[in-house]
């Protein structure tokens, strides 16, 4: 049954996630090429010095991309379900509504993990050729909150899209903006390192929120 739900989600979102993945690879490659170009023009020593003295993560071009991909993923997966209340069909499947929607979210999370890992791998390959390992790992750690924002945005967007009551939707949207802001306050390398222990549960804990909207949907709440 879970495989069947994955199959449905794959049919629905394959083009979106293919484009999203290519975008992430493209932007990560651009960031890597940019690093190399700067290194070639001004010398590697100058690049390292610039990184250490200016507190610039050098890859801010990808900062908002995981967030956008996360929001888009939720919209492409769940907006068709809300069209003419198609979600009723999914909730009627004989496997329990938490299980069926949970499987849909697991699919989205899995694809986002894959996209994030590919993006990290591309960044690592480019950066490790021109920068020492200490700086590479610091750059990648700086990018972790941005990718966590992508996961959190995915869950929060599902929470908003599935909610049937418009007043609640507005409140949820405002709250989501504030929550997501927490992940992208600063680009300073290493600034988020002490906060990762609570950013990770915050990002993935948001996966529980769609249950509230689902419960509202099942009770037939409306404005």
């Amino acid at each position: 049954m879970i495989n069947a739900i994955f199959y449905k989600e794959w049919i629905k979102t394959k083009w979106y996630y293919a484009v999203a993945c290519l975008l992430l690879i493209g932007f990560a490659s651009y960031a890597g090429i940019y690093l190399k170009r700067v290194g070639d023009l001004s010398g590697m020593a100058a690049l390292w010095e610039y990184y250490l003295s200016k507190d610039d993560s050098l890859i801010t071009i990808i900062k908002y991309l995981p967030l956008i991909v996360g929001i888009g993923g939720a919209v492409f997966q769940f907006a068709p379900e809300m069209h003419r209340k198609c979600l009723k069909l999914t909730l009627h499947l004989p496997c329990g509504y938490i299980k069926s929607v949970g499987a849909m979210m697991l699919f989205g999370t899995g694809i986002l993990v894959m996209c994030s890992l590919i993006c990290f791998a591309v960044l690592y390959v480019f950066a490790s050729h021109i920068l020492p390992n200490e700086i590479v790992s610091r750059i990648l750690l700086t990018a972790i909150p941005w990718f966590l924002a992508g996961f959190c945005a995915y869950y929060l967007t599902i929470w908003v899209v599935v909610e049937p009551v418009w007043k609640k939707r507005v409140f949820q949207t405002i709250l989501s903006v504030f929550v997501l802001k927490l992940f992208i306050i600063t680009d300073t390398p290493g600034a988020y390192l002490p906060s990762l222990w609570w950013l990770v549960p915050l990002a993935f804990g948001a996966a529980l929120l769609p249950v509230i909207s689902l419960s509202d949907f099942k009770e037939g709440l409306q404005d």
Partner: protein
């Protein structure tokens, strides 16, 4: 006889607007029950409560003995649901949607029933559902229900958006399937003539209440349309036993389950004068309009 659906004292409001109060009905196994009512009388509300997508203000609704909003997956396999407008996953094509659903009903899925219907449509298996007409989509939705082979079918306004040909096709297929396999069906439709040959029992709803709940044969043999010529009198307000009396020029028309003798007595009691009275049997659509009124 075992009841597959049992609703007791169902009451529902949208905000402060009462939809109905203390609605009671049951659907016995093997029967086809049609819920008839004008727009806004609560047909879709009832279907939503039955399918667990609406929590009633009060009352209980049991399906296969389980509360409608907490049916376990094994019992859910026995229920085929058609959502108003023949809603299905639009992003899938004909073969993908069959493959998807078949995984949920191992042992009971009848692939050939679905493809038999699809072959009649003369569409390719790769035809996307969102590129199909309303009528074709209705056949996809029906085909999926037939393939699921459920014990109970819950169909919300199956005739919505269908032209006469597809409506006829839908009714004929459904009737043949339900009667030959002994299935239980609970359905609504706003096209009453489709229901006459299809349903065994009917519930006719008016705003906030049930007007009639009986078998169609009982209803059609009991109800009569009365016409009084050269009639005069005041028919404003309710007259017990006469449904929606209405003057058309000097003719008075109404429906009633009472005998002509009793009707004449009632008219006399209400000072309604006429020169002649005649009555006739009517079809389900006329009975529905007679009971619920034209407005």
């Amino acid at each position: 006889m075992e009841n597959l659906i049992e609703c007791t004292n169902l009451t529902h409001y949208y905000g402060k607007r009462l939809i109905y109060r203390d609605l009671n009905f049951s659907v016995p196994k093997g029967r086809i029950l049609g819920l008839l009512g004008k727009n806004g009388t609560g047909k879709t509300t009832t279907i939503n409560i039955l399918s667990g997508y609406l929590k009633p203000y009060s009352g209980d609704c049991l399906i296969f003995g389980q509360p409608a909003n907490a049916i376990n997956p094994e019992v859910r396999k026995k229920i085929g649901l058609l959502i108003e407008g023949h809603v299905q996953y639009q992003f899938m094509n004909i073969s993908q949607i069959e493959k998807f659903y078949s995984a949920f009903y191992p042992g009971q899925w009848k692939k050939e029933a679905y493809y038999e219907l699809m072959n009649k449509l003369k569409v390719s298996p790769s035809q996307k559902i969102n590129k199909m007409s309303n009528g074709q989509r209705s056949q996809v939705a029906l085909g999926l229900i037939l393939a699921q082979n459920p014990e109970l079918l819950v169909l919300d306004d199956f005739s919505l958006g269908l032209d006469p040909g597809y409506r006829r096709l839908f009714v004929e297929y459904l009737q043949d399937y339900a009667k030959s396999e002994g299935k239980t069906v609970f359905l609504t439709s706003h096209i009453i003539q489709d229901m006459e040959n299809l349903v065994d029992d009917c519930i006719i709803m008016d705003y906030g209440k049930i007007l009639v709940q009986m078998s169609v044969s009982e209803l059609l043999s009991g109800i009569r349309l009365y016409r009084c010529s050269d009639a005069e009198g005041d028919v404003n307000g309710e007259i017990d036993g006469l449904y929606h009396p209405e003057f058309l020029r000097d003719k008075l028309e109404f429906c009633s389950f009472k005998s002509q003798q009793d009707v004449e007595q009632i008219l006399h009691q209400h000072n309604i004068r006429y020169s002649a009275i005649e009555s006739e049997t009517i079809n389900l659509e006329d009975a529905f309009i007679g009971l619920t009124g034209k407005y």
